[in-house]
């Protein structure tokens, strides 16, 4: 009797465990990595900022010649180390790349030759962008520090700070003046690059985060507005010498333009606004429709390849999967596409 029950139990149990557990192999297949030559010319770096709080920022290297993309270059070249949490921007200066890792509060310095880390600059609050001022000096903007940090690039340390209330974003320099956009302030501040002091400010409205110089060395600032206080976005053209606003192109209250950039000749501006918009610098009105419509995609990063003028735009999709990068010609026709890392926010063209 007892034996029979035992047998019955074992039979039922083994049936349940081994037969009902239909088998899908649990171990995911690691995709084979495309080999992309680090030292080649004409390469495109993609900054994959990663999910906020998950420390999965990465860098993708793309070769337009072969259309091969390799995601995870940082880990690959640094013994599988993680880059950090939210890589906001990347910039080449001297023989280094500077990777500004926002939520980790650090800047990772890697060799331009092999992408191996050679230093980490720490002590930031929420760093966003690095702007080289001279060979060994740079400014770093910050979301929460209410100041710009001055960094010594030879010692890789913060050596000073310039009080700058608000959330500072992209910066640009001309005539020894550094223009600092700010999303929380109504002003773009002007800093004297020698004295590190704020000398002036330009009333551009809230929400300014990106700026470029055109071929005539005029400064264009894209101000995103702030709908909580009913301020609409606008695109401004400013004379960096006189600081006068020469042209103000208003957007409507439902638009949210951002990511202003320009091509190699600096004669055409590009920005994202429910698609990729194109504006020749001589124009005095905004384009009525985007050159490339966004559709169901979520455009997140934008860059123009100086080598061929092609437009690189990333689709962050749902922010929790690998981004798709689409490459378009200047007329808006699709050239090709490739897959990068999580939330690709920008491009660095070799």
């Amino acid at each position: 009797m007892k034996k029979r029950i035992y047998k019955q139990f074992v039979f039922i149990l083994s049936t349940l465990v081994f037969v009902l557990q239909a088998c899908v192999k649990d171990k995911p297949v690691t995709p084979e990595k495309a080999l992309v030559d680090l030292s080649g010319v004409g390469k495109v770096w993609v900054v994959d900022e990663g999910g906020y709080g998950y420390s999965n920022a990465e860098i993708t290297l793309y070769d337009p010649g072969t259309n091969a993309a390799n995601t995870g270059i940082y880990a690959q070249q640094n013994n599988n180390a993680a880059l950090g949490d939210v890589c906001q921007s990347m910039l080449r200066w001297n023989d280094n790349y500077y990777l500004v890792v926002n939520h980790s509060g650090k800047i990772v310095v890697v060799n331009a030759s092999d992408f191996a880390k050679n230093a980490t600059i720490t002590g930031f609050n929420s760093p966003r962008y690095l702007l080289p001022i001279s060979y060994n000096k740079a400014y770093v903007s910050d979301l929460y520090a209410n100041s710009i940090q001055v960094v010594d690039l030879s010692a890789n340390s913060i050596v000073g700070s310039i009080p700058c209330p608000g959330a500072t974003e992209q910066m640009a320099m001309i005539y020894n003046k550094v223009f600092v956009t700010n999303t929380k302030s109504n002003y773009t501040y002007v800093i004297n690059a020698t004295t590190n002091a704020i000398t002036d400010s330009i009333l551009v409205g809230k929400g300014a985060a990106s700026l470029v110089f055109d071929k005539n060395d005029k400064l264009w600032i894209l101000s995103g507005g702030d709908q909580t206080v009913s301020i609409n976005p606008k695109l401004l053209r400013i004379d960096p010498l006189t600081l006068q606003i020469e042209l103000s192109l208003p957007f409507s209250s439902v638009e949210k333009p951002w990511r202003l950039c320009t091509n190699k000749n600096r004669d055409v501006l590009y920005y994202l606004n429910n698609g990729v918009c194109q504006l020749p610098v001589q124009n005095t009105s905004l384009p009525s429709a985007p050159l490339i419509t966004q559709g169901s995609s979520v455009f997140y990063g934008l860059g123009i390849n100086p080598a061929d003028g092609n437009i690189y735009v990333s689709d962050a999709i749902d922010y929790v999967q690998k981004s798709k990068i689409m490459i378009y010609k200047t007329n808006g026709s699709l050239v090709t596409s490739f897959t990068a890392g999580i939330i690709s926010n920008g491009f660095v063209f070799e």
Binding site: M1, Q8, F9, K256, D318
Partner: protein, 644 residues
């Protein structure tokens, strides 16, 4: 037009309530036997026990619950069930995932009241202490027809069952553990013939500065969590009265106050902290007359959640509350049980992130019927529930199930359920982005199972196998819109299916027993809808949803000693919706030991817990390391004056 529809609905609802009251009065005319009734009043059964024919239910036995007396509900469920507990680090927020659903799709009830936070639509299980409840059980599968919103993939029931006429007992427990964790709790039970008072007070504090290995940092992998300390204090007071032969009144209050600093796991400094203050009040009046039982419940739930990040200048305060009133009427007529009831809920919330105070009301009607053959071999239950809300249209939900006893030791179960989960107040009103046009998520699922249960002298064998299949539509996800504002939409469709087993073999008697137990879950939960042209998530497993989880253990009791060892395995979990990145599986062992001895009315009990015995370095959530090996040691002093 819409408004008129709701007014007429509310009017109809009020009419139905009147009918219920009239029926109640007619039945009062009948006679009854008093002693039997009193017994029934003291042991009332929950809705899931009455109308859950064909469903899988897992109950934790008292020995197990006793060994987890100083643990959070998250710890108990993580090591004793196949449920996946998504823990954001030791001492940090923990949510649950059942059968491939998310935390919003799992309801938590406290004495029959759905206690999900109405702004978030979920509960933080790390804030709930296991010691507060007499019974903890898991109801698998959709059950909105019984519990309303959120009971889609499963329901966790937390119940207090007052026992009358047991005398006076008190218990004081103090423990000390790794990371400077100190716990103190006390319980006082006064149990008289017609009155029970139960008071539980607890205080927990921890530095929570645990070491971990950062495998992504090759230079200095040994790190220590800082800014993760927490204190948690609270109390639960319960009063129960028996009036006459037919009435029982229970009043309960539960207050919890937790302050914790939230660490930055990913380098950088953290100045984040979170305060949770939760007050839950619940009154329940039970009336039994022969074949009729009436329960009137009222509850007030208030949740305060303050989140600060002084580095980012975020000082967010959220206050939300719910007022719930419910009438439940049950008639037992030989082989038939019939239940009709209504539920009124008022949700309110106030936070800077909403444009002003937000509130809305909801009315629900539920009907259930159970039929069994005279030999109880076949039991069938059917339940339906319709909710009406000013805010969204709720689908009719239902549940139908059968349990059939095939032979003495084997029974078969089948169940089908239509369930829903309503949008949270954040989904509806968050500014910017909240979407007031959201519809509730809907799920249609079915399950079947076989249960083997046999007792032979000192040997008890139990094995249960279940398969389930559920299709969820209108799944709400937040995505950025054309203007870059994140907004929730009903776009995802998810297909969840899998198999589960649950088994134990127990040998012994009250002096000595050995119990070997375990459960397994195999869950495929895949996204069935492409969001956009480039979306690569269709057909992929949902993130943070393990396909395989296995849990097992051994419980040995020898007179006053109990020893339990559990080992859990959680398989790969994807962290990207296109399944391009994942976390490695982990397996964690836990050991618990308790030993007690008595002299006259005083009893001392010592307990020891060794968590993560093999020092496994693991993460449940990406880059949120869990504690390595850690311990807890404690002592309880109990005084029990038995009724003479």
């Amino acid at each position: 037009m819409q408004r008129r529809y709701y007014i007429s609905t509310f009017r109809k609802a009020f009419g139905l309530m009147l009918v219920c009251v009239c029926v109640h009065h007619n039945l009062q005319a009948q006679s009854d036997t008093a002693s039997h009734q009193l017994k029934e009043v003291t042991v009332s059964s929950g809705r899931e026990q009455l109308f859950g024919a064909g469903k899988k239910v897992q109950r934790f036995d008292s020995a197990t619950q006793a060994l987890y007396q100083s643990s959070s509900l998250a710890d108990l469920l993580a090591s004793q069930s196949s449920m996946h507990i998504k823990s954001y680090g030791g001492g940090n927020i923990a949510t649950m995932s059942f059968r491939g659903g998310n935390a919003n799709q799992t309801a938590v009830t406290w004495n029959g009241i759905n206690i999900q936070n109405n702004m978030l639509g979920q509960n933080d299980l790390s804030l709930i202490n296991s010691i507060l409840f007499d019974n903890i059980s898991l109801e698998f599968g959709g059950s909105s027809a019984l519990w309303g919103s959120g009971a889609m993939s499963g329901t966790v029931h937390l119940d207090n069952k007052p026992v009358f006429d047991k005398g006076i007992s008190t218990k004081l427990t103090s423990s000390f553990g790794s990371f400077d964790t100190r716990k103190l709790n006390t319980a006082i039970h006064l149990s008289y013939k017609r009155f029970v008072s139960s008071t539980k007070v607890y205080y927990i504090s921890s530095e929570n500065n645990y070491n971990y290995k950062d495998t992504s940092d090759k230079e200095s992998p040994n790190k220590r969590i800082s800014h993760a300390d927490y204190t948690c204090k609270g109390l639960m007071q319960e009063l129960s009265f028996l009036a006459g032969q037919r009435h029982k009144l229970s009043i309960r209050a539960w207050y919890n106050d937790t302050y914790r600093n939230l660490p930055s796991y990913t380098a950088g400094i953290s100045k984040q902290s979170q305060t949770d203050r939760n007050l839950k009040l619940n009154a329940e009046w039970l009336y039994i007359k022969q074949r009729y039982t009436s329960v009137i419940r009222a509850a007030y739930l208030s949740d305060v959640l303050n989140y600060n990040d002084s580095l980012a200048f975020i000082y967010s305060k959220s206050n939300s509350s719910s007022v719930i009133a419910e009438s439940e009427n049950t008639w037992r007529l030989h082989r038939h049980v019939f239940q009709a009831g209504a539920n009124y809920t008022l949700y309110r919330a106030n936070t800077e992130s909403y444009a002003g105070d937000k509130r809305y009301q909801k009315l629900a009607f539920f009907l259930s019927y159970k039929w069994s053959t005279s030999d109880q071999k076949l039991q069938t239950s059917l339940s339906i529930r319709q909710e009406f809300s000013q805010q969204y249209k709720v689908p009719l939900t239902g549940n139908i199930g059968t349990t059939y006893v095939l032979c003495k030791s084997i029974s078969l179960k089948v169940n089908a359920a239509k369930s829903f989960r309503q949008p949270t107040l954040n989904d509806l009103y968050w500014s910017p982005g909240g979407n007031p046009d959201l519809k509730p998520e809907e799920a249609l699922g079915y399950e079947g199972g076989i249960v083997f249960h046999k007792t032979y002298k000192h040997l008890e064998l139990y094995a249960e196998g279940t398969f389930f299949d559920r299709y969820t539509s209108n799944w709400i996800i937040w995505l950025p819109q054309a203007n870059n504002v994140w907004s929730p939409r009903n776009i995802t469709k998810v297909h969840s299916r899998g198999t589960e087993t649950n088994f134990y073999a127990k040998y012994g008697d009250s002096d000595f027993s050995v119990k070997w137990f375990g459960s397994t879950a195999y869950v495929l939960s895949t996204n069935e809808q492409s969001l956009s042209e480039n979306d690569n998530s269709k057909g992929r497993q949902l993130i943070y949803t393990p396909r395989y989880s296995i849990q097992g253990g051994l419980l040995i009791t020898l007179k006053d000693m109990a020893l339990m060892y559990t080992q859990n395995y959680t398989g790969y979990r994807f962290t990207a919706t296109d399944n391009s990145s994942w976390l490695n599986p982990y397996s964690v062992g836990n050991l618990r030991l308790s030993y007690g001895f008595s002299f006259s009315t005083i009893r001392l009990q010592t307990f020891f817990a060794l968590n993560n015995v093999f020092n496994t370095n693991y993460q449940v959530v990406e880059n949120r390391p869990m504690p390595l090996r850690n311990f807890e040691i404690g002592l309880s002093i109990m005084y029990h004056k038995l009724k003479k």
